[in-house]
């Protein structure tokens, strides 16, 4: 053994979930110009931006319409009931932060004329059917942020 110094160094055992591993968006008005979406969601309303110039309903919510480039957008309700267009169940390959939930269902929900992706709660893959009705559900994170999901009605 050569005559050199060996020293054990320490690093923190636990670190707060870093931003780069957090899938949920920053929701308040200090961080985003679509904070209204989350404020509406807090009241149980799923909304999105609709272009006042070309009337196109835009998902996800935006600040400029990609169809006509207008920035005159208004909030419109999508409703709380949708229809399953496609679905699956994540059994293997769940990302960090979702591993503890697996297996869980996810799908594409037809709602307010849009097709949007979402977690489908209260369901097993075998029970679901294309065309089945699903209802809006809202989940709250520990830090107060919220997000939408859908759930099986029956």
């Amino acid at each position: 053994m050569a005559d050199v110094e060996f020293e054990k160094i320490k690093r923190p055992e636990n670190i707060k979930l870093p931003f780069m591993l957090d899938f949920y968006p920053l929701e308040d008005e200090k961080n985003t110009r679509i904070s209204q979406f989350f404020a509406n969601l807090k009241k149980g309303r799923l909304t999105t931006t609709k272009c006042q110039q070309c009337s196109k309903s835009l998902w996800p919510p935006r600040i400029v319409c990609p169809n006509c480039l207008s920035d005159k957008l208004e909030w419109a309700d999508l409703g709380v009931e949708g229809e399953l267009y496609a679905f699956t169940e994540t059994k293997l390959g769940a990302p960090l932060g979702f591993v503890q939930d697996a297996p869980f269902c996810i799908g594409i929900v037809k709602i307010g004329g849009l097709l949007i992706s979402a977690r489908i709660d209260n369901a097993k893959y075998e029970d679901l059917k294309i065309g089945e009705k699903v209802k809006l559900k809202i989940v709250e994170l520990e830090d107060g942020r919220i997000f939408y999901r859908f759930r099986r009605i029956n």
Partner: protein, 388 residues
């Protein structure tokens, strides 16, 4: 525009490698330069490096200069990383081609590399879930397997495609990859084994999915008139097509018809001045079995909705209507994101040169296409190659 030649290439073995990102680069780079006579790294004027997520998989950015440093390349005309997720390598090929065709550079390297195995594989899956719209799709854990599972579900629902038909794609590509010494998976897969493999995201089983893969590869391009200085058997780039519509899942033009693929195919055939019947080899992006089935349809190899029947009838085998993925595909060879397109291109060159094992050699193959999709299949990229 100048006509462009691919004059050689090299690749690493793909799979779960006991090697770091930069070691993969060195292995593939050495193999590439060893493959071509009369060229040295100092001759390379343009270097394009396809790398999808080095900042997440290897915690390193500014990677094109890193490749240059490790291979002794001193780029004087163009240097950049190219990112287009699963098509990142093809982006490198397209820009290298443009550098030569335009006259900006006289020697260009299109390189590709990805190190995907991580100590905690859930972290690798996290990376794969920020490809679609992270805040609106990824947040729902929407990564590639669930997206393609739903695509398969819709295709089964609308056209009656079966799980057996999808599994046949896996059987075919794993068969060819048994004859590819650099493939990740080199064991035959039977229909029964494919159908009984663990469920990933129904209706997709493990063998319906390409894997998580480490690998790197590179190819060298020069103007066609210079090709004979380096090789008697160059490969010409004769056409290309690329199209994109949207990114997030909700913005798809359709789930069961890849509209941008049809656009890209049309443009590739137009620029190469060929019809689809003239293609001998098609390296199609089989990230999942359903992808290859939908690609038969979009290429016009069969009627819409009949892709499952097309493989049942032996259409995409060597000796069938067209040889699809005689390399072994992504399903058999693995899918090291940034390297995949380069691996396809190098294999086509070796096909033309008769350097691949007999059992997967397409005899008298003169025209080939290489295709990659990326994201929620909303970008499609194609290159057309011809034997020189």
């Amino acid at each position: 525009m100048r006509k462009v030649a691919v004059i050689g290439g090299g690749a690493t073995k793909c799979g779960k490698r006991e090697a770091t990102w930069r070691e993969l680069v060195q292995e593939a780079g050495k193999a590439m330069f060893d493959n071509v006579d009369n060229i040295s790294p100092k001759d390379v004027e343009a270097l394009l490096v396809g790398a999808a997520q080095p900042e997440r998989f290897a915690f390193q950015v500014h990677v094109a200069p890193m490749v240059a440093e490790h291979l002794g390349i001193i780029p004087r005309k163009v240097i950049s990383t190219t990112e287009l997720m699963c098509a990142s390598g093809q982006a490198a090929i397209r820009y290298a081609w443009a550098c030569i065709a335009s006259g900006i550079a006289d020697v260009a390297v299109a390189f590709g590399v990805e190190k995907m195995y991580m100590p905690d594989m859930a972290e690798a899956q996290t990376n794969m879930a920020c490809v679609l719209d992270r805040e609106w799709d990824g947040v729902n854990a929407m990564s590639a397997p669930p997206f393609f599972a739903m695509t398969a579900q819709r295709h089964m629902h609308e056209f009656g495609t079966t799980k057996e038909q999808m599994a046949l794609v896996s059987v075919k590509n794993h068969h060819y990859s048994t004859m590819n010494p650099i493939a990740q998976f080199q064991k035959e897969v039977t229909l029964e084994k494919a159908l009984q493999s663990p469920m990933v995201a129904p209706p997709l089983n493990l063998f319906d999915c390409s894997g998580i893969t480490d690998g790197a590869a590179g190819v060298i391009m020069v103007p066609a008139e210079d090709a004979k200085k380096y090789t008697d058997s160059p490969m010409w780039i004769t056409g290309s097509g690329q199209a994109n519509i949207g990114n997030a899942i909700n913005n798809l033009a359709s789930f069961t018809e890849w509209v941008p693929l049809k656009m890209a195919v049309k443009e590739a055939l137009r620029t190469a001045k060929i019809s689809v019947n003239e293609i001998d080899i098609a390296e199609l992006h089989d990230c999942f079995t359903i992808s290859e089935i939908m690609e038969y349809e979009a290429l016009g190899l069969c009627e819409k909705g009949r892709g499952g029947k097309f493989i049942e009838d032996g259409g995409p085998y060597i000796g069938g209507k067209i040889a699809v993925n005689p390399r072994g595909g992504l399903l058999g060879c693995g899918h090291p994101l940034g390297a995949t397109a380069i691996l396809q291109t190098f294999d086509i060159l070796q096909q033309f040169r008769g350097e691949v094992p007999k059992g997967r050699h397409v005899k008298d193959g003169n025209v080939a296409v290489a295709h990659n999709l990326s994201g929620a299949a909303n970008v499609h990229s194609l290159m057309v190659y011809a034997r020189g």
